[in-house]
């Protein structure tokens, strides 16, 4: 019997006043009962509208049907046919604009909580005793993966399963890409990321951290001297943008990347950490995406009063709805239609306040989008001792500038075709390095596609 409740099972969460002081995971996950009850809300639609909203086309009704029956292991198998990182995507996918936006139950009520069910299945699987994976027979071919974010991990995993000898080269001392250095512990526990990486290592994938491709070794050297027949570039879009306004280099001004890296990668939030962080007593975060929400919620947890300053309105916030909701509950103050134009200094070179221009939305232009325009003479100063610039990132030019024959777009994105093939034979790319800052699931999907193409290439060489 289907569960016809118009509302989904609520996700148990830590209370806002408690969680905004700790770094433990906010959402606690469904119990088995809740998961089965939620799964029963699915109508098992023949045409699978939900799957069309998933960038990697997980067979959603099929896995949910197994959850409804209590066959969690079977559900896990179905998900992992299409996805390499279900415990991650179930947590961080913008489900409301993807799979769940297409769910028929969403027409009259709330859509089935697909993401939460995916997370439940993955967590259930991870809680089972470990079984040694089947080690695929080696096929004698060597492939290299640059970057250990979701695109690189997915690509490496798929190649390893086909028997390739795969090595991941990672610049930082920890693998995981944004999953490790960017997205905070309270949204994505690092133990989950390390478990995924452990799984790859068990498959025989080698992970060489502390290797900056383009500096320590070049793409051409990997191919010509180290014997890698094909290379996947999943180096992400990690170069932070600044606004180029006066005062941006004052003490107390961070890029979101620096702020989050200090906290997540270097564990600066922990008592006794060797790496310092200064969230101040009043922090202003500039921007409105997931990254801004993460920076804001971290600053809050470090004890600051936190403002998010965004030049459009709430309706245009690019962050996931759930993150905005969580941020508000945690006491983060939003200042919409506000655009910083100068950061003002104390006498000794620290941030004192942020001087902002007030904005209004114009009539929608030809593209139908309303642009924020300044309201003449309307300014506001927000006092702050910490400012975090979270206005986007672009691909790092390091690999492009050291790899002859690798074509990129003007803005830095590597040019790659449908399969991820770049302008250089045998070299593939995917994820944020190609698209610019996007999502975990898109990066993962690109890694899988490229793995399939690389397999074909190496087999036919």
């Amino acid at each position: 019997m289907a569960n016809m409740s118009p509302t989904r099972n609520e996700m148990p969460v830590q209370a806002p006043d408690v969680r905004n002081k700790n770094f433990s995971e906010v959402a606690l996950g469904y119990t088995e009962e809740q998961a089965i009850d939620e799964a029963k809300r699915c109508l098992n639609c023949k045409n699978k509208p939900c799957s069309t909203g998933c960038p990697v086309q997980i067979d959603i009704p099929a896995f949910i049907a197994q959850v409804a029956e209590g066959n969690f292991a079977e559900a896990y198998k179905i998900i992992t046919k299409s996805s390499s990182l279900p415990a991650v995507c179930g947590r961080v996918c913008p489900q409301e604009t993807q799979c769940e936006s297409k769910c028929v139950r969403g027409i009259k009520g709330e859509p089935v909580a697909i993401g939460r069910l995916e997370r439940f299945v993955a967590d259930w699987h991870n809680a089972q005793p470990e079984t040694a994976p089947e080690i695929p027979a080696k096929n004698g071919h060597k492939a290299a993966v640059i970057g250990s974010g979701p695109s690189g991990l997915a690509c490496a995993g798929d190649l390893a399963k086909k028997g390739y000898d795969v090595t991941i080269f990672e610049a930082l001392h920890v693998a995981g890409g944004v999953l490790s250095y960017g997205i905070p512990e309270f949204r994505l526990p690092k133990s989950i990321v390390q478990k995924e990486i452990g799984g790859l290592k068990a498959l025989g994938v080698k992970v060489e951290t502390n290797t900056v491709v383009g500096k320590t070794i070049s793409v051409d050297e990997l191919m010509k001297e180290e014997g890698f027949e094909s290379v996947f570039i999943g180096s992400g879009a990690g170069l932070p943008r600044f606004m180029n306004i006066p005062g941006e280099n004052l003490n107390g001004v961070y890029s979101a990347n620096e702020f989050l890296t200090r906290i997540n990668l270097m564990k600066a939030y922990k008592e006794g950490s060797a790496t310092p962080i200064k969230a101040g007593t009043k922090a202003v975060i500039v921007g409105g995406g997931n990254v801004a929400m993460d920076a804001a919620r971290c600053a809050k947890r470090l004890g600051a009063e936190v403002y998010i300053v965004y030049r459009r309105t709430e309706a245009e916030l690019p962050a996931r709805a759930e993150e905005v909701e969580h941020a508000k509950e945690e006491g983060i103050i939003f200042k919409f239609l506000t655009n910083p134009i100068e950061i003002q200094a104390t006498e000794d070179g620290w941030v004192k306040s942020v001087h902002c221009q007030q904005m209004e939305l114009s009539e929608p232009d030809a593209s139908g989008r309303a642009k924020p325009v300044p309201i003449e003479g309307a300014f506001v100063d927000i006092e702050a001792d910490c400012v975090i610039m979270s206005i986007g990132t672009s691909p790092n030019p390091l690999i492009k500038s050291t790899t002859a024959g690798l074509d990129t777009q003007k803005w830095g994105g590597i040019i790659a075709d449908e399969d991820g093939l770049t302008s250089k034979e045998g070299v593939y790319a995917g994820g944020d390095a190609v698209t610019g800052a996007a999502t975990v699931i898109l990066a993962m999907g690109a890694g899988k596609k490229a793995a399939a193409a690389m397999d074909k290439y190496m087999q036919n060489k």
Partner: protein, 279 residues
């Protein structure tokens, strides 16, 4: 893991270490740096590649004990391993077209200046080295500099080593005496580099300064190492660490360098206490 092959104390607060890091040694060039962590909970700190041996795969670093991490590093011994050691990072020193260069180093900055002087010397460039220290106990790499320079001037604040005075005094004297340099390369405390650059600007001698802001990743990802050069924001880890000294905003760099002072003081004292207890 990266084994410490050799450890040598150069003066009471400056230590040399040779580290087994073949991948870094293979690509290293003068002017570049590495980032290391001593242990799994450690901070990432940048240090210049003072020397390297491609054959044996070793990289030499020379560091001054200034805070918690350099203190911890100094407590490691030959045979111990470093947790992480990544590089070579940053751009190598540009040497093309140079015929006569003054290398001006101050304090531990001399450790960074020395490989540059050595490389220039090997390329057949005429090198004049001017190095300054607070007093004679702090002098490092004197013989090494002498071997790589056709002129070597040693200065000290108190006159206990070489001549009494600042490196800027010595540089000014040389230029006034008619020495014509294609370039001055200066590496040392920010305040020293600021005044070297001020002097050479007056004389119109092109000058490169090696900057050492606070860094985390060293790959252009965090922006923590940013500084203003000619009105533009640059990332020292990828665009530098060497920049046109006449365009650098030194005052901003000095303010940024002090950002974590109170925290660092505290961490340093904790580290020192920790080692006292162990002893």
């Amino acid at each position: 893991m990266f084994e410490i092959l050799e450890k040598r104390s150069l003066n009471p607060t400056v230590t040399l270490m040779r580290i087994n890091a073949p991948k870094v040694a293979r690509k290293a060039e003068p002017g570049q740096f590495i980032i290391l962590r001593t242990d799994a909970d450690g901070e990432r700190i940048p240090l210049t590649i003072a020397d390297f041996d491609r054959q044996s795969g070793s990289v030499t670093i020379i560091f001054q004990i200034v805070g918690a991490t350099t203190e911890k590093l100094n407590h490691l011994n030959e045979g111990d391993c470093l947790q992480d050691f990544v590089g070579p990072l940053g751009r190598a020193t540009e040497t093309e077209g140079l015929k006569k260069v003054a290398v001006v180093g101050g304090g531990v900055g001399c450790a960074i200046a020395y490989p540059v002087a050595k490389k220039l010397h090997e390329l057949g460039v005429e090198v004049h080295s001017i190095v300054g220290f607070r007093n004679k106990d702090l002098v490092i790499l004197e013989d090494e500099f002498k071997a790589s320079s056709s002129k070597f001037v040693l200065m000290s604040d108190d006159g206990t080593a070489g001549e009494k005075g600042l490196v800027t005094d010595a540089l000014k004297k040389l230029i006034d005496s008619g020495e014509k340099y294609d370039r001055v390369i200066t590496i040392g405390p920010l305040i020293m580099m600021k005044f070297v650059c001020k002097l050479t600007k007056e004389y119109g001698v092109p000058t490169v300064a090696s900057m050492n802001p606070i860094m985390i990743d060293g790959t252009g990802m965090c922006g923590g190492c940013r500084l203003t050069v000619g009105g533009e924001t640059k990332f020292a880890c990828v665009d530098g660490p060497e920049f046109d000294g006449h365009l650098i905003d030194f005052d901003e760099a000095m303010a940024r360098g002090a950002m974590y002072k109170p925290f660092e003081r505290h961490a340093y004292e904790e580290a020192c206490n920790l080692f006292k207890e162990v002893k």
